[in-house]
Symmetry: C2
Subunit: 385 residues, 2 copies
């Protein structure tokens, strides 16, 4: 990948930075001025950031990198809260740089485009997910490339803060390849959760080898899980939803599930031993994988999409052998698929169940997500930032 | 399953035991006498047992259950040492009853048969693996049935010691369905390791979807791994052997591996990223699953057969997603396959690399297995017990 930044390639810039400083030099407005760039190329914006691992948000003014020739500037209208935001910001996946603005489920309106951009024009409805730059020639698996720039917390020397900053803010600058179109029939507030919760469940469910009438299990019915139920139902599956929260049962039936199993004891899982044609699990914490895997038919497939603390999952190899299940994990989806899921939801009238909140309510909303009180996605109205 | 024991079904017997005692009543010669059974029906034998979790062996005289109408009595000639023996006896898989005689790689000569047995006659060459009783009508997956009786340490009220006792001994009583024939062209000492190390690797390798010339990775080259290399080679694969023991390299090439990779740093694995069509891993301890999985082609398969402490394997879900690999686990094989592997090895002249030891050397041999000094299977000469 060769990203052009003000006629200086990213690679050259990294080389240059290394040459003038000791090791990693963070890009800063001051440095930019020294190099003859104009301060006013930077995008002044504001957002809600965390300043440590506490999960407490405060308003924060910051600058983003200039809109490059292949970039799109988006006025964010809505950004939703993903459990991954919490894990990453609290350091569950490694130490973070603060202040940091999370958020990778973003919907808004294009307000500027670089001179090479043909895919978008000012005024277009646009969505951004977990990636903002990287390979532009990949066959739909950008998320697994080594040079992918994820939406927040990833080192990016072009950024005044030294890292990418996410969607709990008013504007964002994104490489055009990493922006999707949002059809007119889809409300922006309902499009936002599709950019992570949607694509993360859509991708493996569409790839899974099940037929109409097959039994599909979904474990963990939160932001991701409730979309998984809807996608599997839309493919004609008989959906069995496994949740630990009894009072979600009625909602889940409303999403189209045939049966809701409240797993207050893992023994309950064995009642369904070997019955499911496929299983997708969104649980973002350690849990008893082998017990859940037991519900899948021998030699069937089981996909983990929830990413736990440290990304670590401990499983019982003997239990897994007994179920003879193929366990795999899936990370979001490529850009082609991300456009697909948004279009699929528009065409099939599949919408996430959301609750709009103000920016000042984010801290509280995170606590509710952790306490399994979200029903099912909190969406931040960016006008309140 | 209804196993007949002296005209009394096992199920009835368990019921009866519960009725006369408090909860579980261990079968004892005294109890047997009370119930009118003859003491001399019990098979007096001797073996080498552990008496606690220390892994220290001492000679031990004990009795086995009478030879039932469907049973075979085998004079054991050779029994080999499996890493699982060590895990189970040291309590790594849960607390054990002692004294206990381990050993589930057994080869010998039939010395008596029950009146219903037609599959064997006295003088037949016979092998016994990890199971000694259970379902007799299963479609080749006896090992996954709930009523399977494993070869040692499993409660069995018919046994004078209350549990099954394994093959580090001079005789064993086994249900006929769980005994395999050993062809004349296979030496008994070389047949023994096939009953666990052989079947455990043969079963998934034969089931794996790879073609002649495909690249197959084998990780962990001990008793199981060296057989895995030979089986994969016999199927025409290009075999890549991953070991942590540099001085095994020459041996492993001798087994037919195309390349031996000494994994002294997991970073080495990334050199082979996405290259292998299939992988089988025999490592019986915690290890970095995602790093090993990275060598498999996206959407390929990876089978774990080594069973670690507590059966627990911790894997990095993000790493697993990046490799897009299907991770599964496999436990030995069914009885039909167990006969198959013995016949396959005889036909294809595939033999384990063994070292014969005396019974008094078992304690020391276990230490060598743990220290990765075994080359590659210790086989106990039962004449020395």
């Amino acid at each position: 990948m060769e990203t052009v930044v003000n006629n200086q390639s990213r690679r050259d810039f990294i080389k240059y930075s290394a040459a003038i400083g000791a090791g990693i030099v963070l890009w800063s407005p001051a440095l930019a001025t020294e190099k003859g760039m104009k301060m006013n190329n930077y995008v002044k914006t504001e957002g809600y950031a965390v300043f440590d691992t506490s999960g407490v948000f405060k308003p924060w003014k910051f600058e983003r990198r200039p809109v490059g020739d292949n970039d799109v500037l988006i006025d964010i209208k809505f950004a939703s809260i993903c459990h991954s935001d919490i894990h990453q910001m609290k350091g569950h996946w490694g130490p973070q740089q603060y202040p940091q603005v999370p958020g990778h489920e973003i919907a808004g309106i294009v307000s500027a485009v670089g001179k090479n951009v043909t895919k978008f024009k000012v005024g277009d409805r646009a969505g951004v997910g977990c990636m903002v730059d990287g390979c532009t020639t990949c066959e739909n698996e950008e998320q697994y490339q080594s040079d992918t720039l994820f939406t927040y917390g990833y080192p990016d020397k072009r950024e005044p803060t030294g890292i990418s900053q996410g969607g709990y803010s008013k504007q964002i600058v994104v490489r055009d390849h990493y922006v999707v179109h949002i059809p007119d029939s889809l409300e922006l507030k309902e499009a936002a959760p599709l950019l992570c919760a949607g694509i993360t469940t859509y991708s493996p469910i569409m790839r899974a080898d099940f037929k109409k009438g097959d039994k599909v299990a979904v474990a963990g019915i939160g932001g991701l899980g409730h979309m998984a139920v809807k996608f599997a139902v839309s493919r004609g599956a008989e959906v069995y939803a496994f949740t630990t929260t009894a009072d979600k049962a009625e909602d889940i039936k409303g999403f189209g599930a045939k049966e809701v199993i409240v797993v207050d004891d893992t023994k309950k899982l064995y009642t369904y031993a070997g019955q499911m044609d496929y299983m997708i699990c969104t649980i973002p914490y350690q849990y008893d994988v082998a017990a859940y895997a037991s519900v899948v038919k021998p030699y069937g497939f089981y996909t983990q999409v929830g990413m736990p603390v440290g990304f670590e999952i401990t499983l019982n190899a003997l239990g897994l052998s007994a179920s003879r299940v193929n366990f795999n994990a899936s990370l979001i989806g490529g850009m082609k698929e991300t456009q697909e899921v948004v279009d699929y939801c528009a065409e099939n009238k599949i919408y996430p169940k959301i609750e709009i909140i103000k920016a000042e309510e984010i801290t509280e909303a995170w606590k509710k997500v952790e306490n399994k009180e979200a029903r099912y996605r909190y969406v931040i109205d960016s006008a309140t930032i």
